[in-house]
């Protein structure tokens, strides 16, 4: 740890945040191994325990250093990067990880399709080999940051003649390719935070394949497991989330209180506090290298509490709850679940139990992988993908 503090001090000495360009500082931080200390040396890390990152982050915040605006590049940091680290070639890791971490290159995720949501392994976007390239055609959906992204992680079907899990391959797709078209997808809040992505003979060099041909499902599992770690990993002060927003509304509106709403509020406040504590506990376990499976519990609880709290807030607001700020189709750069007005929060929270794995799929995963309960009979397991009913 002393060593770590020395490295931070050396970085700050050589690159004074007050006088160094933001991007130059971030690149220097990456090259010093202080970007994500649990990554290997040479790739922004030091091979140190994940928990040591907090020491680095705290020291850099204290020194007024710029950060990489992690919320803007969450998909790159939380999903693409661990997958590239686990399955990428040395050349892919060197090419992609540094600009990913500094935020110079934004990433998005091309997984879900209109016909493949919870059953992601049924996806039908086709990739056909053509010389040193793959040619990709299909439609992806619910892609956040597609309109700002330079790169995408993409799962496509490379062999329709084998059962669905076996015939997929994982790629890095260039979002500037002429075969890639991005259209905003308007959602129930009025805005378009996500996109539909149409792929029409988009070309991907074979050098941008991650993992073996046909191994895409296994690679995608790494991406998705890391998604939950990312969701569960944020430290938060008490009342830091939706509970705090609703508590403030409660405090500001004494005339609108009822005993029934009071009991509901207190119950939800307690669960939110316990969820926050579970996050602290998960992070403490991660820091000593023994992450539990609690992240999936936290996502389930988070979705339920966000929805219940935001619904309560709209009720509390009475005549103001009947209004809405703006239905205009806007393109927010950052998604803030607790931002804007109560009506927005209520509507946006409905997505919390759908995005990143529906709560129902999550319950299956908890029951089967954590509790070890037997799976439902699977009728599609041994059927070639092309013969599945759809």
């Amino acid at each position: 740890m002393t060593d770590l503090r020395d490295r931070v001090a050396a970085l700050l000495a050589e690159h004074d945040p007050a006088t160094t360009d933001r991007l130059d500082f971030l690149r220097a931080r990456f090259d010093a191994g202080l970007a994500w200390v649990h990554f290997p040396e040479g790739l922004g890390g030091l091979g140190a325990p994940r928990g040591d990152q907090e020491i680095v982050d705290a020291a850099l915040v204290a020194a007024g250093a710029p950060d990489n605006n992690p919320r803007r590049i969450g998909i790159g940091l939380g999903m693409a990067a661990p997958t590239i680290l686990a399955f990428g070639t040395d050349e892919q890791r060197r090419r992609f990880l540094r600009p990913l971490w500094t935020g110079e290159e934004v990433w998005c995720q091309l997984f879900s399709e209109p016909g493949a949501g919870s059953d992601l392994a049924a996806l039908g976007t086709r990739a056909r080999r053509d010389g040193d390239d793959w040619v990709v055609t299909g439609q992806k959906v619910w892609t956040s940051t597609a309109h700002t992204a330079r790169w995408a992680i993409l799962v496509a079907r490379t062999d329709p003649d084998v059962p669905k899990h076996a015939g997929m391959t994982y790629f890095v797709c260039d979002m500037t390719d002429p075969g890639v078209e991005v259209r905003p997808l308007r959602q129930i809040t009025g805005e378009a935070e996500f996109n539909e992505v149409f792929l029409t003979d988009a070309r991907i060099p074979d050098a941008h394949r991650l993992g073996a041909v046909g191994d895409g499902w296994r690679v995608a599992q790494t991406t998705l497991m890391n998604e939950w770690v990312a969701i569960g990993g944020r430290p938060m002060p008490r009342e830091g989330g939706m509970a705090g927003v609703v508590a403030e509304t409660w405090r500001a509106n004494p005339e609108r209180r009822t005993p029934e709403a009071h009991d509901r509020l207190l119950g939800l406040w307690v669960e939110s506090e316990a969820l926050r504590l579970a996050g602290i506990r998960l992070r403490q376990q991660l820091a000593v290298g023994s992450p539990g499976p609690e992240g999936s519990a936290m996502k389930l609880a988070f979705a339920r509490l966000s929805q219940a709290l935001s619904g309560l807030e709209v009720e509390l607001l009475a005549e103001d709850g009947l209004r809405y700020s703006d239905w205009a189709l806007t393109r927010p750069e950052l998604v803030d679940f607790t931002g804007r007005d109560a009506g927005y929060r209520y509507l946006r929270a409905k997505g919390n139990s759908i995005e990143g794995g529906t709560s129902e799929i999550l319950r299956n995963i908890i029951a089967e992988r954590i509790l070890g309960l037997p799976s439902e009979p699977r009728v599609d397991k041994d059927v070639p993908w092309k013969d599945l009913p759809r």
Binding site: W250, P259, V270, L277, I366, E368, L371, L373, P374
Partner: protein, 358 residues
């Protein structure tokens, strides 16, 4: 405010393993059920727990204890919850001990703590087990204690009664009071009525109100860990059953309608464990104790009851039988929900503590 430590330490894991081994030997389901039939506690098991040091972990060494803390006591409570072992842990090792620790400047209190720590005697705090914020009902009349306290936990086993009366704590030999066991909802921690008719007592120096408050906080905080242990047993047992129970030609655990219910129990348990650990850590450090305890109680009580309900329901017919141990956990979970403040009472406390007035 510094961040609470919510992990289990290696030492705590070791302690858990020792207690679990002991309970596996001495408190299997059939043994516990037999004790429940007779509404007796198990003095042999209690002595064995005392020999492990598990009954005085949070008592300083100079007062005859182990000099550990409430974090360790909470781990023992979890294991005792998971076995519903009939021992007077809550009444003696937690409530009475915490009350006496609060007045440990008193020589008689210190002497009592030493005898409790060695396992020589057990005690209980004479308040209704349901108490959270009520006032004591025993009066001091002409130098003797007078009054009746209903539904006192672990009173039948107690050699020594710790009684709040007239502003002070009093020590009363059990033989100087009338302890009447009552048929109890919780058959593994039966309650009793305690009557004083001019009983002689030793009054201790210090405020009874403060000591009782400290004891109830410790009791409610530790009870949350017991509730986690109950919920964990209910979940584990139900999962195991649903894996081996076949209906319609399939293990019933393969039906989504059932597995989703267990996934929800597991999810609630993740939150409950974090809250219970937080309460234990708060009791150990003294930081933010009241909020931590009331958060843990209002959540863990409900999670344990829900887990017990699911355990009985998902076992189907066998879960409704006297022979299967599920009912012991249901009864304990329901009694624990009332014990030391219902979830609603704890939420009412929180309304004041965190500025969410009604």
């Amino acid at each position: 405010m510094s961040e609470p430590n919510l992990r289990y330490s290696d030492v705590e894991d070791g302690l858990r393993a020792s207690v679990r081994d002991l309970l596996a030997d001495r408190a299997d389901a059939a043994t516990v059920l037999a004790h429940a039939e007779s509404a007796e506690h198990d003095p042999g098991l209690w002595r064995a727990l005392a020999e492990l040091g598990a009954t005085s972990l949070h008592v300083p060494e100079e007062l005859g204890g182990q000099g550990a803390g409430y974090r360790e006591t909470a781990v023992v409570a979890e294991e005792l919850g998971a076995s519903v072992a009939p021992v007077p842990f809550l009444g003696s090792a937690v409530l009475a001990t915490a009350a006496l620790l609060h007045v440990s400047q008193d020589d008689d209190a210190r002497a009592a703590l030493a005898r409790l720590g060695s396992g020589e005697i057990t005690a209980t705090l004479v308040v209704p087990l349901s108490t959270w914020d009520s006032t004591p009902s025993v009066q001091l009349v002409d130098g003797g204690l007078v009054g009746t306290v209903r539904s006192v936990a672990d009173a039948r086993a107690a050699d020594l009664l710790v009684v709040p009366a007239g502003g002070a704590l009093h020590l009363v030999q059990a033989s100087a009071a009338t302890v009447t066991p009552v048929v109890s909802l919780d058959v593994t921690r039966p309650v009793a009525d305690v009557e004083f008719t001019g009983s002689t007592s030793v009054a201790l120096v210090g405020s009874a109100e403060d000591a009782v408050r400290a004891a109830l906080l410790a009791g409610a905080g530790i009870l949350a860990s017991e509730q986690v242990g109950i919920a964990q047993w209910c979940l584990d047992t139900t999962v195991a059953y649903l894996k081996q129970r076949y209906q319609f030609g399939r293990p019933v655990g393969s039906f989504q309608a059932l597995k989703h219910r267990l996934a929800d129990v597991w999810q609630q348990l993740v939150l409950a464990r974090a809250a219970a650990r937080n309460a234990a850590d708060a009791l150990a450090t003294g930081n933010d104790v009241e909020v931590a305890v009331s958060v843990a109680q209002s959540l863990c009580a409900a999670v344990a009851v829900h887990a017990a309900h699911e355990c009985v329901q998902l076992h189907g017919g066998i879960g409704m039988t006297w022979e299967h141990p599920a009912h012991l956990y249901l009864k304990r979970a329901k009694a624990d929900e009332i014990a030391l403040g219902t979830p609603g009472r704890h939420r009412a406390s929180l309304a004041h503590l965190v500025d969410l007035p009604g």
